[in-house]
Symmetry: C2
Subunit: 194 residues, 2 copies
C-alpha cells in the first residue's frame, strides 16, 4: 500500500498566483503565515504553514500545511509536507545536492522535535521561524522532547536559523485557532478542544 | 502535487506470507532485521527495517523499509514508513486512539533524531530496537542531534523501550551493507560509498 500525503485542494491555486520573487524575509514569512491562516479558514488542518524557497531567486519551490488529521498521518506537519514536496519535485532526497539551488525553509512556527530532526536530513541550508515553540505549547500543542540548544545543533551542521520573524502575526493565528475551538491533535491524548 | 511514499514491490508479498502471530520479541525483531536484509538484497533502499505490531494479537499491522533514495524523500526511514502505513491503514493519525490495538514499533536500529521525534506523535506504546545508533554511525550513517537521554524522554511519555534485541544480527546486516559498498546517503554530503 502506498503512503499518500495529500495537500488541500486550495493549495495549488494559491501557489499558481504566488509565482513572484520575494527577496524580503518578512514577506516570505507572511506567505507561510497566510498558509497557516488559510488552512484554518478552509478547515483543512492545523494552524501551521511552511514554504521551501530558492535562496537565489527567492521564488518558492514548494509549500505545505499541516495535514495530520486529514491524511491520518502524524508525520504530516507543515514542514514535512513542504520539504518532501520540494524533494520529490526536484527528484532528490537531498536539497543540498549538487546542481540544486540553496534552499530555505520558512515556517510559521519553530519545529517540533520530529521536524527539528528532519531538517538536517532535508538538505535545507537555512531555517526561518515565526512563532516560538512556547507559543504553540501555550495553546496546547505538544512540541515533543527537543534539545534545548536546537538552534546551535543546526548551526553546527551549517544550517543557519532566524527566529521571531513576524512572530506576533503567527501567534495571532495560533490564538485565533485556539479561540475558535480548533482541534489540538496530540497523540496519546484523546482529542480535545481548548 | 501529492506526496507518494512507495514501498518496494516485494514487501506486499512478504507481508502476505507472514500473517502469523509472533508472541516472542526476538522473533518479531528477526522479522524486522529480515526486512533490512531484503531491502539490501533487492537493492530497494538502505539497510533498515521496521514493523508495527499489534501487542494483543502479536500480528503485524504494517511493515516498512528505508526508501529515502527510491522515493526522493529524506523522511522515508523505515520507522516512518511503518508508522505512517499503520496509521493510514487504521485510518487514524494516532495509534493510541480509543478502539485501536496497543501498538509496538519494532525497528532494526535505534531511531535517528527525526524518528525519535516522530515516535511520540505516532501513538505507539512500545519501541523495540536491535542495532544501536552507534552501530549505524560506525558504518557512516548520521543519526542526527538526538537527546542523550532519549529513552528516558520516551518513558516519561509512557512509551516503553527495549534495546539490544538481536543486536548482533542487525549489526551483521549493517556491516554487510557497508562492506558491499552500499550507499550511505547523508544529506549535505555528496553521496559516498564506504
Amino acid at each position: 500500500m502506498h503512503i499518500i500525503l495529500e495537500p488541500p485542494a486550495w493549495l495549488q491555486a494559491w501557489m499558481d498566483i504566488h509565482q513572484d520573487s520575494y527577496p524580503d524575509t518578512s514577506t516570505r514569512m507572511r506567505l507561510a503565515i497566510e498558509l497557516s491562516a488559510l488552512n484554518i479558514e478552509h478547515q483543512t488542518g492545523g494552524p501551521f504553514g511552511a514554504i521551501v524557497f530558492d535562496r537565489t531567486t527567492f521564488q518558492f519551490i514548494s509549500a505545505g500545511v499541516n495535514r495530520v488529521m486529514a491524511c491520518a498521518a502524524s508525520i504530516a506537519h507543515a514542514e514535512i509536507m513542504a520539504i518532501t514536496a520540494a524533494q520529490q519535485q526536484l527528484g532528490s532526497f537531498d536539497l543540498s545536492a549538487r546542481g540544486l539551488p540553496s534552499c530555505e525553509l520558512v515556517s510559521s512556527c519553530e519545529p517540533c522535535a520530529m521536524c527539528f530532526g528532519a531538517v538536517p536530513w532535508s538538505g535545507v541550508r537555512h531555517l526561518v521561524c515565526a512563532a516560538r515553540d512556547s507559543d504553540a505549547r501555550a495553546i496546547g500543542f505538544d512540541e515533543g522532547p527537543k534539545l534545548s540548544n536546537w538552534k546551535d545543533a543546526l548551526l553546527q551542521r551549517g544550517i543557519t536559523v532566524e527566529t521571531d520573524i513576524c512572530r506576533s502575526d503567527a501567534v495571532g493565528i495560533l490564538r485565533h485557532y485556539a479561540g475558535d475551538n480548533g482541534l489540538i491533535y496530540n497523540a496519546g491524548h484523546d482529542l480535545k478542544t481548548d
